[in-house]
């Protein structure tokens, strides 16, 4: 049980997918201008990432096995694309309200490298099914956490007198830097 808790804390705080592993930057930079959008993106990513981590494990373990490792990248990305497509359809059918919130973010997820990164890391770390699932969930929660925090921070930055060359993405990067500096404070908490 502890072990699973550590995986969660580890992926959310210590080895945060964005701040420490530097994955998923495109949405991190792109969908953080508004808090609402960030929250929508977080929800969508959490869903897809967790599901993707679990399904990829199954595909890797039962379909590919040790002989077809070279198809891993290809099959993972295809699995993820299907999840995104399916999710889109499913949400649209069952909850139009949710779709209006998440709809525009879902397609963007396919090119969030964290979504592919996590399954690949799962393979690298030789996680079993539950671990993979938790790793996916933790990664997604970590992503959501920093995305939402960053969005709120950026809303405040909008009004700051940032020197001209630094305005826009540049200061966002500097902010991400200081955020990841702060997150280094968690380092060493859990291996």
């Amino acid at each position: 049980m502890d072990h699973y808790l550590y995986i969660l804390i580890g992926t959310v705080f210590v080895n945060n997918i964005v701040m420490a592993k530097i994955l998923g930057l495109c949405p991190f930079m792109g969908v953080s201008r508004k808090l609402e959008a960030a929250i929508g993106m977080s929800a969508a990513t959490t869903f897809v990432l967790t599901l993707g981590a679990g399904l990829s494990y199954l595909v890797d373990h039962y379909l590919l096995g040790p002989d077809l490792t070279y198809l891993r990248t290809l099959s993972f990305i295809v699995v993820i694309a299907s999840i995104v497509g399916f999710t889109e359809m499913f949400i649209k059918k069952t909850s139009p309200v949710l779709f209006r919130v998440l709809g525009i973010y879902l397609p963007l997820i396919t090119t969030n490298c964290a979504v592919l990164g996590i399954p690949l890391l799962n393979v690298q770390e030789q996680h079993d099914f539950v671990e993979s699932l938790l790793y996916g969930l933790g990664g997604a929660l970590g992503f959501s956490l920093v995305l939402v925090l960053f969005a709120a921070l950026r809303e405040r930055l909008e009004a700051a007198d940032v020197p001209k060359p630094f305005q826009g993405v540049s200061i966002a990067m500097v902010t991400a830097s200081l955020m990841s500096l702060a997150f280094m404070g968690f380092s060493g908490l859990i291996k």
Partner: protein
Amino acid sequence: MLNALFVMAAIGLVLGAVLGWAKAHYRVEGDPLVDKIDAILPQTQCGQCGFPGCRPYAEAIAKGEADINRCPPGGEAGIKQLAELLGVDPKPLGEGLVSKPKSVAIIDENTCIGCTLCIQACPVDAIVGASKQLHVIVADRCTGCELCVAPCPVDCISMRIVPERLDSWKWRYPVFPIRPVAATLPAKGAS
């Protein structure tokens, strides 16, 4: 080898089915974004943006074909609202475009020959009159687009800046003695 083929084919089949299904299930109807953008544009219909009116410009923005800073009548405030709507950074008015103070067209009553050319030019039906009779511009319908100025064969239409009156008066942006005036503008020494 055969394994590989089999696995990938299976995955492709599933993905294709999902995507095809999804595609057929929700074709995108209308684009609510265009309406939202159009609602921000000032409806001067002046064409300074390079499009034949506000709605075409809105459509172009929605398609990503036009930048958000092409509408001089909308000015800084309009750009800001568009940026907010689209989740991008605001930027200054495009090159070669200047935002003019709001003005209305006036027909010189003694020169007008009643040719109806200006009536046909006015996009918002702000000109009243019949052929061979004097035409009158209804000041609070006139958007100041200047489209009627050029067609007039006797050059009797001129633009007059709407003077500030007590009920349209606005509090000024407070001037900070030691800081650059506009908040979002950068420090003067930045370049």
